[in-house]
Symmetry: C2
Subunit: 222 residues, 2 copies
């Protein structure tokens, strides 16, 4: 049981530090000393720092995608509620994400940061790892979103899907900063649940928006 304990303690500590300071800025020494394990333990149990990073996210994304798939199965096999609406989908995803990050809001923040890095940081081991591992669930989400928004042209739907993703990722990745500002400026402490509560109608309304004024790109010229 000593091994399992060391591995878990490394993963737990790495998760927190990665979310706090980023990947490159978090050294193995910082992780191992805070986790009260020997420095060499990381390379012994995981092989390398890269592998540790992937293991941290695999521990989060594995169960999460499983739960997401299960929730999608449940919703789609239930004929009583017929076609899923955009709100249904968003709520479904939100439920799974929040449930998966239960107890540690930093987890959600870190997971979203990875998504951002995977998209932004063109090449690198993270993106490939993510892509090879979790694309089928991602495309399934896009597919049922398509069924929920038949009025959109495919290319429109593509962009709006990523607009939603952007709001979600950015908001969750910088959640702590924004919470601090909100508390300072409005004296209100919004939990992550509060924020998601505000986010869902914003996204749902966005995807169903009409098009802008008739002449395309007219805004860009005087």
């Amino acid at each position: 049981m000593a091994q399992s304990d060391t591995v878990t303690r490394i993963l737990d500590t790495a998760e927190v530090l990665f979310a706090e300071k980023g990947f490159a800025e978090t050294s193995l020494r910082a992780i191992t000393t805070k986790a009260n394990v020997n420095l060499a333990a990381v390379n012994y149990h995981f092989g390398s720092k890269k592998a540790l990073i992937q293991a941290v996210f695999a521990r989060f994304l594995g169960p999460m995608t499983q739960n997401l798939e299960a929730a999608l199965d449940r919703s789609q096999s239930d004929v009583s509620n017929g076609q899923l609406t955009v709100e249904d989908i968003l709520i479904l995803v939100a439920r799974v994400m929040v449930a998966e990050s239960k107890g540690s809001p930093a987890r959600l923040s870190m997971m979203m940061r990875l998504a951002g890095l995977a998209y932004t940081q063109g090449q690198g081991h993270l993106r490939k790892f993510l892509q090879n591992q979790y694309t089928q669930t991602f495309y399934r989400l896009m597919k049922i979103t398509a069924e929920a928004t038949p009025e959109l042209k495919p290319i429109e739907r593509f962009w709006r899907f990523h607009f939603m993703l952007g709001s979600l990722v950015f908001t969750m990745a910088s959640l702590e900063s924004l919470q601090a500002i909100a508390e300072h400026d409005f004296g209100v402490r919004n939990s992550e649940l509060d924020v998601i509560d505000q986010l869902l109608p914003f996204l749902a309304s966005g995807v169903r928006a009409g098009s802008l004024g008739s002449p395309s790109k007219g805004w860009s010229l005087d």
Copy 2:
């Protein structure tokens, strides 16, 4: 003129590399060798790596905020069009941003990527720098957004403002990746202007959305 040339070449190169790989992952040696300047030039001209990062931001944000302020002055002094709508504001911002990145469309993508990193990646000094330097313009934008959306509660408006910011930053930061996917999946090559064209109605509709179903957070429990 040698100094100005060296400084410019450092800034140009740093801008690209920071956007590509992040701050911590980009070494001064990588910058200086690619820029064909001596390693010590960075510390000589900027003082430190931190200062270089801030200088990269300042060179872009300085003119941009100036133009933004000027555009706001023009719009607000023009009594003929009265109160600005959300669309007006979004179009105004889009115009300034596109104009500022003129000549190098990748530049906007880079700066948004940097902004995203600055928000996400703790980096205490960067956030403080941005906050102390450009908050007045930022708050002015929030103020006229408030006037354009009187129906929203302040805290609602605060979050939706950042939801918009998230969509914008994420989309622009990952523009190249998304363009490639769109071209592969739909056979359509969308320019940055096309994307902004799609983004504006999404954002405008999002900020004006109603609230979600009556019981707050009802979605989070079964």
